[in-house]
Symmetry: C2
Amino acid sequence: MDRLTTVIEDFTTIFIRLPSVRRFNFSTLSVLHTLARGGPMRLTDLLRTEQLKQPALTSLVAKLEQDGLVRRRPDPADGRAMLLSLTREGRQIVGSRHAHRVERLTHLIDQLTDDERAALAGATSVLTRLTEIAADDA
Amino acid sequence: MDRLTTVIEDFTTIFIRLPSVRRFNFSTLSVLHTLARGGPMRLTDLLRTEQLKQPALTSLVAKLEQDGLVRRRPDPADGRAMLLSLTREGRQIVGSRHAHRVERLTHLIDQLTDDERAALAGATSVLTRLTEIAADDA
DNA sequence: GGAAACAATATCAAATTTCGATGTAACTCA
DNA sequence: TGAGTTACATCGAAATTTGATATTGTTTCC
């Protein structure tokens, strides 16, 4: 378990660091990613996953709206709340980063043996299960 | 490849977010982690992996030294350079976060079937290879 | 139906972090 | 030796984050 944890830690650091065309900081990228995954959600929901306090998130989202990456509209079900979602441009940024990762990972995997590739393929669905379990018992 | 990339992205977000006892920001945790892995290294070396400009890193390291987490000593081989390493306390912080992850991952893996566990185990060494390859061709 | 309690977000000033520009000292090498 | 380069430090300004608090809408419960 220790070995697996360690290698994930190391792999993660490699995987996260991507040259981004525009220079977004970590908080911004995380918000974009979460909105890309979680569909429209309220500020409070977003707050749960982001490592920011509410005022910081409010101001970050305000800037993203200014920049045309996030759309903010009132929640029809609750007059106090705002529904946040990505604009097309916001989705493009997340998509382009994803594409870069696919490319990078493809390049790495090209250098593996067939057996290694098979092992990795076998792990994909297990990783999916793990993230589901993690989401549930969080 | 797209599926694998996606699941790694999702798993990563889960894996990164850890309640830290003391409240360190992302940059700080990354520096501590890198120093824990990379042994004593110079500021410039550290700079390569961290997503900070040099003045920001200098001031971050200065604070970590103040707080007793990082040791700074002159590089005997180069009068301009400083060798940075973790103090015992610094190592303890990284170690404790690692321990938390092991614990969390153990808990998740407990919920898998035997087959799934086997698939994951098979992927461990492949992931190790991948990080090595990535380190080389970076 | 209305007041009290609560929840979601906004605002504001202060603290922290990061950056660009520039300085200083040490190293390289011709 | 001296011109060019490298490693790190310093400094003021810009950007980010926080805690405290305000505002507005919702829920509860009598």
